[in-house]
Amino acid sequence: MASLSESRGGDAINVRGISRRFGAIQALDSVDFDLRAGEIHALVGENGAGKSTMAKIIAGSIKPDVGSIQLFGETYAPSSRRSGAAAGVAHVRQQLSLVNGLTVAQNLQLGRPGAARLFNAAAAKAEVERWCDELRLDVPAERLVDEMPLAVRQQAEILIAVAWGARVLILDEPSSALGPFETEALITLCQRLRSEGTPIVYISHRLPELAELADRLTVLRQGKALVSGADVRDADLREIATLMIGDVSLLDVQRPEIERGPTRLAVTNLSISLPHGVGLHDFDLEVAGGEIVGVVGVAGNGQEALAKALTGQLKPSAGRVVVDGADVSGSATRAISAGVAHLQEDRATGLAGSLSVGDNVTARRIGAGGFTRLGIRIPARIATHARALAERFQVRPPEPSARAGSLSGGNQQKLMAARELEYDPSVLVAHGPTKGLDPEAAKTMRDRCFAAAQSGGAVVVISADLDEVIDLAHRVIVLNAGLVTDQFPIEAMSSERLGAAMAGLTRVDTPND
């Protein structure tokens, strides 16, 4: 792999005028991008900036609407990810593509371009070990992929890409689920690959590691390249962070006046460790009744763990979640009886799609409230109640017997709200409450959050969408890699401050007792 790219010199990849549209969204808008041989080129931007679309186009999994690509000076128009791989472009995605239940050696052989028909176990094992030596990795050749930690699986995938003859590597958010030591190891691996001549497109939103690793960087926002191939050493990271975010405007935001009450939600020293994905470290939070706190950050920085911890679904490894004086840590039942409501981020997990609207809307308190006689559910009463509730929350159609999964996204969201917000909550955890909704449905959901606050509830809005937080929150907390990197009242929000915190350039030291 090394010799090839060195001998040609010049650029590894030249992307010219690439555009790609998905429905109403212009994911990429005539973007140019160059990857020089032997460099690590960082591609940065917020969620939905077009980074992953760019990666997929270069890798061949999707085709651009217009534009052209050259690979080492030759026209390159891959028809699939496989043909991209055959041409030497390897795309290591966030969701790794190794097959669970097979060993690393078996994965090496599976789907390999031009592989022999028969699997030679000894040869595959030897090859994995040879590459381990070469790249100074410690990947066990004959262990099942799903038994290895995430970081090792990622190394295995990179190793396989190189063994398949990758001339260009695209790493999509490779550090997003790694801890600090693992990230350090990843950086070392990338530097070694670069020194052996494999250029890398490194996609990330974490600027500190890019400063350490990358040679040049390109900033995407809303499908446009705002900075193209700037030298990382000369770049002002804070300025880059601000560029990534764009203008943060607090104008035109109409938030109702809400009276503050006593503290209802108190989180102290909360730590959560997850086998896969980012947990939380030493998280503290107090939210008063009537207050709306926005938790922002790029998706995958601990939001899921936070939402589940606040609603009692995850047992913290340290710390407590207290609602109105009652400890609800690690008990969904206690959280529900303390009046904690939860709007889940993913409607597919927040609703039972094959069950009826009536069953869904009453699922939270099915054993109670005159719906049952001697432990038997009374369908007529449930239907009557469900219809009234669905109408109150503007679910269309408010038909108790309709299948929940057959409703539109906005109506599913309203249905989930009807289930969770039938009574005024003590705490509302709203995870992406307006995500993917049309403007009208989004407004309804915002009003639900305001109503929860106005009725004296403490509201935590977790979101990767800044506008959503700007519209709702009084106070902002920024999460990066499971840590709080900044917090401030909404009035103090600026692109600079937010950008720096979201990119992990700052760190708030939470008081420890």
């Binding site: 939860h342 889940q344 069950l355 069953d359 699922a363 559910r377 369908p379 239907a383």
Partner: protein, 376 residues
Amino acid sequence: MTDVASDSASGGVGDPGPVESDDLPGLTTALSTSLLAIALALGAGALLLLVSGENPATAYRALFDGAFGSKFAIGETFARAAPLAIVGYGTAVALRAGLVSIGAQGQVIAGAIGALLTALLLEDAPSVIAVPLVAVGGALFGMAWVLIPAILRAYMNVNEILSTLLFTEFAALLVEYLLNNPLKPASAITPQSDPFPDNARLGLVIEGTRFHAGVFVAVIVAFAFVWWVRSVKGFQYDLYGENPELAESLGIPGKRVIVNSLLISGATAGLVGWIQAAGLLHRVYVGIASDIGFFGLVVAFLGGATAGGVIVAALLFGALQSGGLAMQSAEGIPASLSDIIQALILLGFSIRYAPQIMRLTKGVMANFSLGRRVTR
């Protein structure tokens, strides 16, 4: 649950009233659509018979007569349908909770052993005491046979399909050992137990047939299943089967759902072991379970794990088994051809509960993703 799906399948719309249609009242629609599908299957079978040089009319008459044509035939159909329905309902409870236990076969064997051992202990007790206690003995042995797979599934995420299958193998070997050694009467040549004590037997309901009192256990289990589906507990279990993550977020304890639903399926299979030994065969043989455990699973699937569906599927199975035998013996139709025709009819029947079956198999697929289903 399945109410809406079955509504749409039967073309029923706009009934705003009850949320349920998932129980015996759905029986009539279940029957009518099933009959249509079965008619199609019979047509296909007729072609096959013609090609093979048989007369479809006489073959089908023999099939029907064997299932419903006489007092004996009807008794036979019910005696064969009852154990399938009981296993079917128990398996359906687990299926609705997202669990695929294929170990009913072993649990039936365990239940038969349990019933026999209890009966031998109570040889001197009056029937009023012996019969219910022997039933309990059978049910408890059935539960014991699924207890370890249930715990493994709940706490270590061990795939219940594999573990229950292994326990079936275990039961088959164990019964063979027991009947060749400690439980073998001195006089017996082939492996079999002593006769079931008279005081613990279930009597015949219709003389001259094999319709025994144990058939009514299926009726009781059917009503218990209807109750279960309508109960708060049953709803919680359905919700867990549909979306385990949501169920846990609403405070439904997943581990308990897993263990309890598997125990329920084990208990019903154990009851089948009891009625087969105490009502039908009056001994325990190596083949006591015949294929009831496996066919019971098929019945649960074919019936979409609904109350009406399971009973219809079980009756259909019972009728086909008893009629199929008659078709072979009376008309000399080869056993293989008779099996193909039975399979065609069952295939036709599966159309009726296609949406539910699809949903249930989704659970099976999730289960097969190397047992890594989300459980905490």
